[in-house]
């Protein structure tokens, strides 16, 4: 699999590179920087924007009364007040355009949003780089759909800035000037952005409309992971007068939001729109969750008090409204908290949230906080908890902790699990048993819970493979049992273990371990069942197994069980018919090959079948025939094996022979040596079933398709 992924990665990334023009262009920019002659790099987009026309808006009125000492007559300020610098930087940051254009002495740089501009301004202020800060005046423009708007001019170090009619002049900066410029920008820019960039939800027809909307300062758009980002929520904020306002602003009173689905061409196929009145204080958060292949809007209501009360509305079936009260339904609540993606929070205003952690803030996270049944429910519902309702009054709660003993998330690998078993008594008191299990030094491979003979057990499969650790959850006590001992055997036969974690590299990883075979066998039993008792020794090899068994017609599963015998993995490899025409473009495998790590022989099945249809022996074998000699000259082999010329074909400097003999398929390859002789370099012998199976390709066919290296495993 590793090799296959590596190969596919090489193919996938081979064209992810810049064309020569862009590469040279970027190099020229960098070298310019290296020389110190230039101040800015020019992005690819910037080159394309060379023709952008700057639109100026008259601001004379705004600037009346400013302390302008006249045109370009510069009066430098001797010292720079840091607080003034911050104010100056901040007022630009308060603006909301998507991108900014900063121009300096004929060169320009596009910055990405506020953070980009902030970084740039901070860098200039901090660096005091000669030539950048000092005598240069920066003209800052906002970029929005449809054009560019000059916001103002600034020389941060010298604190000179003013803009008149969109033309930049140098002068002293005063607080009044800053305020005026901010007002100018607010007054001049905001209507432009509002009217020029907003796309009302009503006008969303294609996925590109949503992307355009995302550029708008008053809109929030989030795509959810559903088949290629074609499902999204888009929200637009309004103030009390139903006028657009910026997101997360205090003035937001209403949020109109819609869920949109788009087809593969980006055309809208489904939508549902709603207006949320932020005066309605009954809700805390809104999000979506996928459940049973349907998407639901999830609203966490405050009405539930301590009990969580989620309203779920099917947004794929707008008329189908489903309200669920989940206090008693721990698993559903856990599911929502684990899977819901929240995007809106009510904290007196509209707040965008992106993480479920925000929702759980202040909630119950630890056993120490559990003292009532209600608290227990809270804990079980928390997003970083694995929980299971064992019965009406028995619960399993598993919490993850990191190296420092701090509650962790199941998202990554965790150092320690605390497994809690809770029994709720008749008087609603609780009996809590906590079992700490560190990943470090733990001999378990996987951990689960199971029910047997009236009791619940924590069930750990040990790395010794044939042993299991069993913990009686109600009564305590740990037993290590062999696979066929006592309750362990009973549990395995019932095969009803709910694995929830496994140990990998001394860490716990949430998720089930390998399913334990009902008929798990030790080597001795395995040998006995296959009649190998006499040869069943510690030195028995994979090849011995090959010789001992005629695998044709047997179960592939029994081959996989060799894992137990050799304590090694059976490698599964799928073969695809890459030469098939369009009818087979689904790329379904035509053959499954199973081999141990040392693939001296490989058994093959057809897809969806457990029956072995072919066995292939590779390499310098001695068992099938004594008549093959590696390194022997072609003519000698041909003579000894009595091979007909029609069996040979040539591929580059290698000659191949493929022929049937006594029910076996012989496939030989001869390599040209320095003396011009072809020598036997490799042989492969398969039994007759392979010959008769039309679905199994011959050695020669595979060579032609995969190349020589594939056969040699290089």
């Amino acid at each position: 699999m590793d090799e296959k992924i590596r190969e596919r990665m090489n193919g996938a990334y081979k064209d992810v590179k810049l064309n020569d023009d862009l590469k040279s262009q970027a190099e020229a920019n960098l070298l310019k920087k290296a020389r110190g002659a230039g101040k800015w790099s020019v992005s690819r987009e910037m080159l394309a924007m060379a023709a952008v026309v700057v639109v100026f808006i008259a601001v004379n009125a705004v600037l009346i009364g400013l302390n302008i000492r006249g045109g370009n007559n510069v009066t430098p300020v001797e010292s720079v007040d840091d607080s003034k610098k911050n104010t100056l930087a901040q007022y630009f940051l308060d603006l909301k355009p998507e991108n900014y254009l900063v121009e300096c002495e004929g060169e320009s740089l596009r910055t990405n949003g506020y953070d980009g501009l902030r970084d740039m301004l901070n860098e200039i202020v901090v660096s005091d780089t000669p030539g950048i800060a000092g005598n240069s005046m920066l003209k800052i423009s906002a970029l929005a759909e449809g054009g560019t708007k000059t916001l103002g001019c600034v020389d941060i170090c010298d604190n000179k800035t003013v803009v008149i009619d969109g033309v930049c002049y140098e002068t002293d900066v005063t607080d009044e000037a800053l305020t005026a410029i901010k007002s100018y920008i607010d007054d001049a820019m905001w209507p432009y952005l509002r009217d020029g960039a907003i796309t009302d939800l009503e006008y969303i027809i294609t996925i590109n409309d949503v992307r355009t909307l995302a550029d708008c300062p008053s809109a929030y758009v989030r795509f959810f992971d559903e088949g290629g980002n074609r499902f999204c929520v888009a929200a637009v904020c309004y103030d009390a007068n139903k006028a657009y306002c910026r997101i997360n602003e205090e003035s937001t009173e209403y949020v109109e939001y819609g869920y949109f689905w788009f087809d593969e061409d980006g055309n809208k196929i489904l939508e549902k729109k709603t207006v949320v009145d932020l005066c309605d204080k009954s809700w805390e958060t809104r999000g979506v969750v996928e459940f049973n292949s349907q998407w639901y809007e999830v609203v966490n209501n405050k009405n539930g008090g301590d009990e969580h009360n989620y309203d779920m509305v099917n947004i794929m079936e707008p008329e189908d409204v489903e309200h669920l009260l989940h206090f008693a339904d721990y698993e559903m609540e856990y599911y929502i908290r684990s899977h819901a993606q929240f995007f809106m929070e009510q904290q007196g205003k509209y707040v965008v949230v992106d993480d479920i952690v925000n929702v759980d803030e202040g909630k119950i996270f630890d056993f120490s906080q559990v003292n009532t049944v209600e608290n227990l429910g809270e804990l079980m519902a928390a997003s970083n908890v694995y929980s299971k309702v064992l019965s009406q009054n028995q619960y399993l709660v598993v919490l993850p902790y990191n190296e420092d003993g701090v509650a962790d998330s199941f998202e990554g690998w965790v150092s320690e699990l605390k497994v809690g078993y809770v029994e709720v008594l008749e008087n609603r008191d609780m009996k809590l048993t906590v079992i700490p299990l560190e990943g470090m030094g733990n001999s378990m491979e996987s951990l689960g819970v199971t029910y047997c003979q009236g009791k619940w057990y924590l069930f750990g499969q040990l790395q010794t493979y044939m042993q299991y650790e069993v913990i009686d959850l109600a009564n305590g006590g740990v037993e290590v049992l062999d696979y066929d001992e006592g309750i362990c055997r009973e549990i395995l036969v019932n095969d009803d273990i709910d694995y929830f974690a496994q140990v990998v590299d001394n860490y716990w990883l949430l998720g089930g371990g390998e399913t334990i075979e009902k008929e798990a066998k030790d080597p001795k039993t395995y040998c006995s069942n296959h009649g190998w008792d006499e040869m069943c020794t510690d030195t028995m090899s994979v090849r011995d197994i090959y010789v001992a068994t005629n695998w044709i017609g047997k179960s592939a599963k029994s081959f996989i069980e060799l894992e137990l015998f050799f304590d090694d993995l059976v490698v599964t490899d799928f073969e695809y018919d890459s030469a098939a025409g369009p009818a087979d473009s689904s790329e379904s495998a035509y053959q499954i090959n199973l081999s141990m790590s040392e693939p001296n022989f490989v058994v093959s099945t057809e897809p969806d079948s457990d029956e072995i249809i072919a066995v292939t022996l590779y390499g310098d074998h001695n068992y099938v025939t004594e008549d093959v000699w590696l390194g022997m000259e072609l003519e000698e082999v041909k003579k000894r094996m009595n091979i007909d010329d029609s069996a040979f074909f040539e591929e580059g400097v290698v000659k191949f022979a493929s022929f049937e003999r006594d029910g076996y398929l012989y496939e030989l390859s001869f390599v040209l040596d320095s003396n011009g002789n072809y020598l036997l370099g490799f042989s492969c012998i398969s039994n007759g079933a392979k010959i008769n199976s039309s679905s199994v390709k011959s050695f020669g066919e595979r060579l032609k398709e995969d190349g020589i290296n594939a056969i040699y495993g290089k």
Binding site: M1, D2, K4, I5, R6, R8, M9, N10, G11, A12, Y13, K14, D15, V16, K17, L18, N19, L22, K23, A26, E27, N29, L30, L31, K33, A34, R35, S41, S43, R44, E45, E98, N112, G113, D115, G116, R211, A214, D215, V221, R222, F223, G228, N229, V352, D354, G412, W413, V504, D505, N506, Y507, L509, F574, Y576, E587, A589
Partner: protein, 158 residues
């Protein structure tokens, strides 16, 4: 670094840095900008590379930081995966090129925490320990990411 050194490093590493940025940002234009910023930081910092491996690792770490900074911006959350148009594809095997594009889309669709280790391991050839150092994660964590990423890709490619 003098001009020649900059030019040499750039020519040696531009494709690698661009690919990494593309893996993070999944967008050609952003990847181009991030690539430029990465080399700009190299120039600005005047870093002296001890050897080729140091040079490569430094650029990977810096490019990762540049990209993460871009991704931290709120508007990035609305950017969808860009379909690679394969305009650079010079191969004549259209079907193979299509398969490559589909696999690239599959890789780019992986969550970032799996995507970047998968790229660094399978394309750049770094071990889990080396990737862990670069991404400031434990090697166990990286192995977990690789395992999960491999599992997801494995399901698709069989």
């Amino acid at each position: 670094m003098d001009e020649k050194q900059v030019s040499d490093v750039y020519r040696r590493r531009v494709d690698m840095v661009y690919r990494l940025c593309f893996s993070y940002l999944r967008n050609k234009d952003d990847a181009f900008d991030a690539m430029q910023n990465t080399f700009y930081k190299m120039i600005k910092k005047g870093v002296e590379f001890r050897d080729a491996e140091h040079e490569k690792a430094w650029l990977i770490v810096t490019a990762s930081n540049v990209c993460k900074n871009v991704l931290a911006h709120w508007w990035r959350k609305t950017v969808s995966i860009e379909e690679w148009d394969g305009t650079n594809n010079s191969g004549s095997d259209v079907e193979a090129a299509q398969e490559d594009r589909e696999f690239l889309a599959l890789v780019l669709d992986l969550p970032e925490k799996y995507r970047i280790p998968i790229y660094l391991h399978y394309y750049e050839g770094y071990s889990a320990v080396e990737i862990g150092k670069m991404l400031k994660k434990s090697d166990s964590t990286i192995r977990g990411y690789l395992m999960k990423g491999r599992e997801i890709l494995g399901k698709e490619i069989g």
